[in-house]
């Protein structure tokens, strides 16, 4: 049995997580602020499955960090991004925005380009894993909108990021 759950818009979804053998329904769990909705049902009408919990946790992660001078996302984020991709694939009406950023070292326009490249790296991965290009907008702010101001390594680490902004 497939149950469609949504916070925004009307979409019916077929779970592709059925493939790995888990029972019943998917949880479509993001509202516009990126936090998950909590209603769900598994086929026995009770608790969330492990898979559903994993998916919800993954969808709750909306910031992805990058190493210095690099535009590839970190390997440990791969699974999380896969969940995001599948969530988009399952909900064709869902839209979001990838905002790319860089730390302040180096020149501004080059950093604007780095932010764009980072956002595009995530975009491409999402598309390859099922999302549609039209669902995702990409914007870079370079070093102009740091998450944490300052000149410490910690600030720099927190600023090299792509944020998922639900719309």
């Amino acid at each position: 049995m497939v149950i469609s759950l949504f916070a925004l818009g009307a979409c019916s979804s077929t779970s592709d997580m059925d493939e790995d053998g888990s029972e019943g329904s998917t949880v479509s769990s993001s509202d516009s602020s990126g936090s998950s909705a909590t209603t769900s049902a598994s086929s026995d009408g009770g608790q969330l499955t492990q898979e559903e919990i994993r998916a919800q946790n993954a969808l709750r992660q909306t910031v992805f960090y990058f190493d210095f001078d690099v535009a590839e996302f970190q390997a440990e984020d791969r699974d999380t991004l896969t969940y995001h991709a599948r969530d988009l694939a399952a909900n064709p009406g869902k839209r979001f925005r990838l905002e790319g950023h860089a730390d302040e070292r180096g020149t501004r326009e080059y950093n604007l380009a780095l932010g764009e490249r980072r956002a595009n790296a995530i975009l491409n991965y999402l598309i390859v894993n099922g999302a549609s290009r039209s669902q995702i907008e990409v914007v870079s702010y370079g070093e102009e909108r740091p998450a944490q101001s300052g000149q410490s390594e910690q600030s720099y680490n927190r600023n090299r990021r792509v944020e998922v902004i639900g719309r």
Binding site: G106, R108, E109, L112, L114, Y141
Partner: protein, 435 residues
């Protein structure tokens, strides 16, 4: 996130009287070092007119300009043995005693209700002769500009280099924190006076660029949360949107004939490349296609090539490509990071941001002998921009937590800081010579 744009498009007039828009926040601090300063004397100007005093102190501005150049040491008025206002009264012996090399005298004469005549004369003390004498009309509103013009002529006569005291700088300021940021695009005189807000926004502003006739500024604005390039006419405050394509619209720079912009477009595939936009036809020509980041384009003074930043060899380096798009040629080979190129107007030097033992600094490459000279001493220096006489640069650096501006002579001997009391100042761009 509230993102409405607060925009005050201010009429940019020659007259300095602009009501409450002038903020006078930039201050020059002399932090120069080394360099030999020639002792000169700028004698207080004479005054003939209705009021007791002249409406403006011309000699004070000339003194400040010459001093700020780092090449001259004007002596104090108290040390002057005489204060002539006409050539006939100049006693070269009195100036020789003081070891002064040049003397500047002058006077302001009232010729109408708001009309004056400003006259100055420059003398070489050793040769005992006049080098230049000039008379200019002025109104109260143009006195400062006339003083800078006099200083420019004096400077050029004494050094052989055209003065830039009458030029302007554009820059971006950022105030407030987090969600409460206010950005302004500002134009000020080269000495920091007469700051005028050109544009104001709650979203970032980047990359101001002067048109060759000084009448327009191109810039990148993030109003509406995406990057857009505008060209704004300073006198009227009117602006046109010249690029708002999907993806990045960045790094605009005017061609020497003012008819084109080089800019960076990311496009739908996010491949950042150098493009040329014809402002009249709006036709865009793509110059680079490499999968690397190609950005920060700037024109060679002959209009036939673009220099830009590319990381196609691994890290950012400066490249040159002909405007016909022939194969880009790498220009920088020293160091792992060289970006944001700017050519001196005389074509002899290339300024850039250069990573020097962990510090981002301004360096200048001599295009003839290929010597690289590091000019600045900070850790996060950027946005170098040449003065139109190719003899100085302005750039952004940090003082503690604040962004400030510094100027440095192209030989590195004279360096001065421009600090603003309002928050961060960044992205300076030196105007061309004004007409």
């Amino acid at each position: 996130m509230g993102n409405f744009v607060v925009r005050r498009l201010v009429v940019f007039g020659i007259c300095a009287v602009l009501g409450g828009q002038v903020q006078a926040e930039l201050k020059f601090e002399i932090t120069d070092f080394v360099g030999k300063r020639a002792p000169v004397a700028v004698v207080p100007f004479g005054w003939e007119g209705e009021a007791e005093n002249a409406p403006f102190d011309i000699s004070a501005v000339i003194t400040a300009d010459l001093s700020r150049s780092g090449r001259f040491a004007p002596i104090a008025e108290n040390d002057m043995l005489q204060k002539p206002t006409t050539g006939v009264d100049v006693d070269f012996d009195d100036w020789s005693i003081l070891a002064v090399e040049a003397v500047i005298i002058g006077k302001v004469t009232q010729t109408g209700a708001n009309a004056y005549s400003v006259q100055f004369q420059l003398f070489d003390v050793f040769k005992r002769e006049q080098l230049v004498g000039y008379r200019m009309p002025a109104s109260r509103g143009t006195m400062r500009r006339v003083a800078h013009r006099a200083a420019d002529m004096i400077y050029e006569k004494l050094t052989g280099i055209p003065g830039v005291f009458g030029t302007k700088v554009a820059y971006v300021t950022a105030q407030g924190r987090d969600d409460n940021r206010l950005y302004t695009l500002v134009v000020a005189d080269a000495d920091g006076e007469n700051e005028i807000t050109i544009m104001e926004s709650t979203d970032p502003i980047m990359s101001p660029a002067w048109s060759p006739d000084s009448r327009r500024l191109a810039y990148v604005s993030f109003e509406n949360n995406i990057s857009t390039i505008y060209v704004q006419t300073l006198r009227t405050g009117n602006r046109i949107k010249v690029s708002s394509r999907v993806g990045i619209n960045g790094a605009p720079a005017f061609s020497p004939d003012g008819r084109k912009l080089v800019l960076t477009l990311g496009g739908i595939d996010g491949n950042l490349d150098i493009h040329i936009l014809d402002l009249a036809s709006r036709k865009v020509t793509r110059l680079t296609t490499n999968r690397s980041i190609d950005t920060e384009g700037t024109w060679a003074p002959d209009g036939r090539a673009i220099y830009f930043t590319s990381d196609r060899s691994g890290g950012p380096q400066v490249y040159r490509v002909g405007v016909n798009g022939d194969s880009p040629e790498r220009i920088t080979f020293e160091g792992s990071y060289n970006a944001r190129p700017r050519l001196s107007p005389d074509g002899s030097k290339l300024a850039m941001v250069h990573l020097d033992r962990g510090n981002y600094r301004i360096a200048v490459l001599d295009l003839d002998n290929r010597d690289l000279l590091v000019l600045s001493g900070g850790s996060q220096d950027e946005s170098p921009s040449f003065a139109p006489n190719s003899d100085s640069l302005i750039y952004a650096t940090r003082q503690g937590r604040n962004g400030v501006l510094e100027t440095v002579s192209a030989d590195g001997l004279v360096r001065q800081r421009l600090a603003s009391r309002q928050g961060d100042v960044r992205e300076p761009s030196w105007s061309p010579f004004l007409n």
